[in-house]
Amino acid sequence: MRKYNKLIFELSKPGRRAFKLPQTDIEERNIEELIPEEFLNNEDLNLPEVSEVDIIRHYINLSNKNYGVDTGFYPLGSCTMKYNPKINEDMANLDGFKNIHPYQPEETVQGALQLLYELDRALCEISGMDKMTLQPAAGAHGELTGLTLIKAYHESRGDAKRKKIIVPDSAHGTNPASAMMAGFETIEIKSTEEGIVDIESLKAALSDEVAGLMLTNPNTLGLFERHIVEIAELVHEAGGLLYYDGANANAILGKVRPGDMGFDVVHFNLHKTFSTPHGGGGPGSGPVGVKKILMDFLPVPTVEKDGDRYYLNYDIPHSVGRMKDFYGHFGIMVRAYAYILAMGKDGLKKVSEMAVLNANYLAHKLKDYYALPDNTIFKHEFVMAGLKSELSEVTTLDVAKRLLDFGYHPPTVYFPLIVHEALMTEPTESESKETLDEFADVMIRIAEEAKSNPEILKEAPHNTPVRRLDETRAARNPILKYEG
């Protein structure tokens, strides 16, 4: 592994070029004749000058410092780092999908509209909902969309008092943040000792000021909220709506559907459950599904079919408006649809079965060394409360950093907040038994090091290009761009 530590700006040399325009046969005028001098910048642009060779080497070397699902096991809880199929990339790169302008006349993009429509129908079937909006750009955006729909629903009924959203204390940070963005106040309810929603706490929080409850099922502890029917009844009786955070949908495909559990609105993370790439942070896609009662409020446009013709429908009289430009992340939806076609009705069910089996198997292998609840059925992920042995001072952070030395991406650390020293692990169905066994062996070895040689963990990682970054310094004196 080459040691490479240059910024692209440090490679810049005057006169280097990577790009050239063709000659033009249009008679060129002076720019000042076309655009008045007062608007023009006559100084050199502050951009680097590099050659194509520089560019390729620079980014290839950067890529070598990265770890992706294609590199190895990536058991990040709550993220569903499953394998990203290559056929998805090929399909997204087809000329007919990649190179179409969003404002082209509809008759020239029937294939794109048909894909969107079929995806809409497929996601409705998987979720048990009546109609999707494919517009939201990501999970958090889907949450915001869903909450906006809930708000519009109550407003349309003159129910202006409902300004609160209930969120369990185990919820992902985006839930209360989205509620805030949507103009709601959050009420947090406690989980039971076991880690599921405390029904009494929920009852106490419900009132005619509550617009709804946001829930993920299974929850962030990987536990199925088995009282969901009662929860749905309570919320509906109180006049609220039920929102399903689809982050954990990988556990339930073909087994149970949010629509059947009583949820009124749902979002999926295509970049989790439906195998589209995480991209180093994005782009994702967070389509939202609704029951009939919310269909009138959907963002414009939706995708509809009339006979053989597919079209964009802007005629939604009580629509909340637009959540973003155009129709959603089409490029991501092509990938997700290819995945749904690949797995099909039988395969999607198998996905959940194997995701859940893998998680339970791995949990079983680790339970003697890491703190896990006894006799528990997990779904697709489980959360360890750090090392089982309480002797050493070794923290979850140390375990995570030591895992890097063995070539693994660590599980999610310190989330959910209700578990002390949380290590949230989600293997996904794309991993083999051998991978799980190897990972378990390493985790066990680390647990033993924690007793016999804690220093090696406190000082980990040892083998990575950089080690234990000074985050305090980065936050106290932020340097957010290259100054030269």
Binding site: Y414, E471, T472, A474, A475, R476
Partner: protein, 126 residues
């Protein structure tokens, strides 16, 4: 955890030191220890008025952020600007490095606060 006598304390880990009709407010040792290395302190403006339990400031560390709440109703008369350049002062000495000085609006509210002994007991339960 260091606790100074002669200060008032709140359950959100603020301390208050009375000086006549005014008071200094800061974070306790327990608070700075839980937050870790403090990287930023958000300060209110002089003359801002707050009620008891309003958030008048926020303190950020690398991995966490915490609001700081008014122990009593009051008006800001001075803010500790050195915290803007050196937020780490709160870690170094949380009792010497106050966050704001206020004019107390209602002195009777002081009775609702904890004494140092009560706060010590409170910390044992937390």
């Amino acid at each position: 955890m260091k606790i100074l006598k002669d200060l008032y304390y709140t359950k959100d880990h603020e301390w208050l030191r009375v000086e006549g009709d005014e008071a200094y407010i800061g974070l306790t040792d327990y608070a700075q220890d839980s937050l870790g290395d403090i990287v930023y302190v958000e300060l209110p403006e002089v003359d801002d008025e707050f009620n008891k339990e309003d958030a008048f400031s926020a303190v950020e560390s690398v991995k966490a952020a915490s609001d700081v709440y008014m122990p009593v109703d009051g008006r800001i008369v001075e803010v500790n600007e050195s915290l803007l350049d050196e937020p780490n002062l709160l870690n170094e000495d949380p009792y010497k490095n106050w966050i704001v000085k206020i004019e107390i609006a209602d002195k009777s509210q002081l009775e609702e606060l904890m004494t140092s002994d009560e706060y010590e007991q409170y910390l044992e339960e937390v």
